[in-house]
Subunit: 429 residues, 2 copies
């Protein structure tokens, strides 16, 4: 794990190098374009060809959709304690997202114009769930529950089964979250199927959910045909900690981020040299016993850092530069720091609030903007599954008050029919 | 203008053909990739090279940014009546968008967890304004005012000056809307400069605004590096009208859409054969005197249609299939119809509310989802210039209530450090 200090002469360059981690993205554009073209042309046949090849299976059209029986069997297999944990998480996620539900707008102004904005749910959405090692039931809850709360009528879900293996918890989470249908497919072919539709898979209006480089590129390419959520990059955490923090706890918090994958990033900023040294030590110690030590260790080695700052003002500047996906404020007075933070996906305040709580049971979404995109984007929410329609109704007399300005502006833009369509109603043509 | 009727045997195929209008997009991906790469590598020098070539000018680095003097001179040139019209539009747009400003969320649940969501403005946004024929001051207001209302600190604007020609109204509108800086550039090079930054142009966090195929493709390619708004396609209007409508007015409403460009689409659905015939006639008559008759006539010929339906239920189904950008409800009871509309960007109710009112002075945004994307996206709003941060703070005892479920789920996902980071705080490691 790197140790940086703002007192060092080359700090700025070292800090920039730390943030420049996602440059070596594989170039998969051409492959993904071909997959999408094939799925548009050949539908389910193409989806099956790619699935059988990439997931090393031998599926036929009858296997595409996972049956209600399979889902029931999988759900029944799950230990009660785990089912209860999923249910607790689902209930808390649902409650938080209900609090997000927006209000319509309607008001009448002094000219008699009534103006409004009406929110409505999307008709159908598609949720991508990664397969294999990263097939997380918590992600199913975090994607599907906001859609359900938003009022989406149809929630389709695609989850690949590499080598035929499916995670029963994923199926149980999908059922609990109100998913309408689940398909046993993944990759760019799943994204293409949901975006354009096939014989068996009706097209959706928006696709969300994390995935590998192929899935991200496919989402980018179908954007416009359907809506998508942000392109997720590798995950990161930034911890700001003072001497009130427990170094052993912080080490586990950093490693919880690092164990996601080798490209994940775990950063700690502190004003305390003693804490910095203790955490560096504690990370080494914890790595000795951690089950995913190989991945976590590689992430920590390549992208992890403890940054010693002179004061908290310096820390604020760096934190806002990083615009972290996850921000733990392990400080005696976390609210004071939070008021100065401009860019972060999700914030966890106080020593007993590790980020893992937010991954599962806190309630806010764990699908969050990565790699500094918290500067301009937000975590997944009910708004991702809704859209707005604005509307106008004029009273008798309103057009006399505001119409002439529209005619003048339309004429200035050389849009004669625009001007005429208003002027004719003012009796001026 | 085509005439279709749901009573005709081949209606479904004809209707589908009508909606399939945006298939022949030019393939500009490779050119745009090269432009972006050059701007990233050579900064302002590349921006100037492309600008001089594409806009037929001879700019140097000193000409990139439009000076405050130029803006003042341009503003002073504008007739008072037009300046007043712009000011009326700006005030009404600002008021509507203020009504959109969202509320933060904060609540404490029975476990003692305090959960919240805080809205904040983006630091910097870039607004693209097309040059030449389609350089519209109204679009400057519609893009910049929501950003200003959202609280964005820095609003940069790019507007190309082909052959050195700038629209003084665009500069006046930018000044009125609170734009911080204006650059005399356009195309993919302007998008690249705003997304990645150059010597003179600081990078922004989000880029909005309409543009040609190169601009749209550039926005698509920089998505992820910065946020973008929806990719705008050709504009469209759908009018639902009954016998209470004036055919001559409807003809001008249809032509107001058609005069935008040859790819624009103007559609009318009615249950009245008499109205359908009158409107077809009135369109022909109006085209004889319209200044932009060549463009409008081509749009009407290629994409325009009057569709006769058996009843209003049929109309609702077709309208939701179209998911129009603009929907005029020229009906005796527009609210009854509005309640059945699921997908539309903006709705205009009643005979004296033509869509052109919404383009300029009604208040809601005129940057709207085109080509059926109203199924999953919305008009430009203050939300496009804000982002959300969720946050969690736990009370003493909360972790005992919800932590064990997080440990169970983390263990089930094989994320040992996640589990340990919670368990250690429960005293269970």
């Amino acid at each position: 794990m790197k140790f940086l200090s703002t007192a060092q002469p080359h700090f700025a360059a070292q800090f920039n190098a730390l943030l420049a981690r996602s440059a070596d993205e594989p170039q998969v554009g051409a492959q993904v374009r071909e997959i999408i073209a094939q799925v548009r042309e050949r539908g389910d046949a193409a989806v099956l060809d790619y699935t059988n090849r990439f997931d090393r299976v031998a599926m036929t059209a009858a296997d595409l959709r996972i049956t209600a029986d399979e889902i029931s069997v999988a759900t029944a297999e799950i230990p009660h304690a785990l089912r209860d944990a999923l249910a607790l998480a689902a209930a808390r996620i649902e409650r938080f997202h209900r609090a997000q539900l927006p209000q319509d707008i309607k008001f009448t102004d002094e000219t008699g114009a009534t103006l409004g904005m009406r929110w409505g749910a999307l008709d159908a959405v598609g949720i991508y769930v990664p397969g294999g090692k990263a097939s997380y039931p918590s992600s199913v809850l975090m994607n599907a529950i906001p859609a359900k709360v938003a009022g989406v009528g149809r929630i389709a879900c695609c989850v690949p089964a590499p080598d035929g293996v499916l995670n029963p918890l994923v199926l149980a989470a999908a059922k609990m979250a109100g998913v309408s249908e689940i398909y046993r497919i993944g990759g760019a072919q799943a994204v293409a199927a949901m975006a354009y539709g096939t014989e068996q898979i009706a097209k959706v209006d928006r696709i969300t959910g994390p995935g590998n480089a192929y899935v991200a590129e496919a989402k980018r390419q179908v954007f416009g045909q359907v809506g998508i959520d942000s392109i997720a990059g590798p995950s990161e955490v930034l911890i700001l900690a003072d001497d009130s923090a427990n170094p052993a706890h912080l080490a586990l918090d950093l490693l919880a981020q690092a164990e996601h994958d080798e490209e994940a990033q775990a950063l700690l900023i502190t004003t305390s040299g003693a804490l910095a040294a203790s955490v560096l030590d504690a990370v080494k110690t914890a790595l000795e016993t951690l089950p995913r030590a190989a991945i976590a260790g590689e992430s920590i080695r390549r992208h992890g850092a403890v940054i010693l700052v002179h004061d908290w003002d310096e820390a604020v500047v760096l934190a806002n530069r990083i615009a972290p996906e996850h921000l733990q404020l392990m400080l005696a007075e976390p609210e004071r720091m939070f008021a100065k933070i401009r860019h972060a996906g999700a914030v966890f305040m106080g020593q007993d609030c590790p980020e893992a709580i937010g991954d599962y049971v806190a309630g806010p979404n764990h699908v969050l903007p990565t790699s500094g995109t918290a500067r301009f984007s937000s975590g997944l929410s009910v708004y991702d599954f809704m859209k707005r329609t604005t509307w106008v109704k004029l009273a008798a007399g309103t057009l006399e008050a505001i119409g002439p300005a529209a005619v003048a502006l339309a004429a200035a833009e050389n849009l004669g029919a625009h001007a005429a369509s208003v002027a004719v109603r003012l009796g001026k043509t």
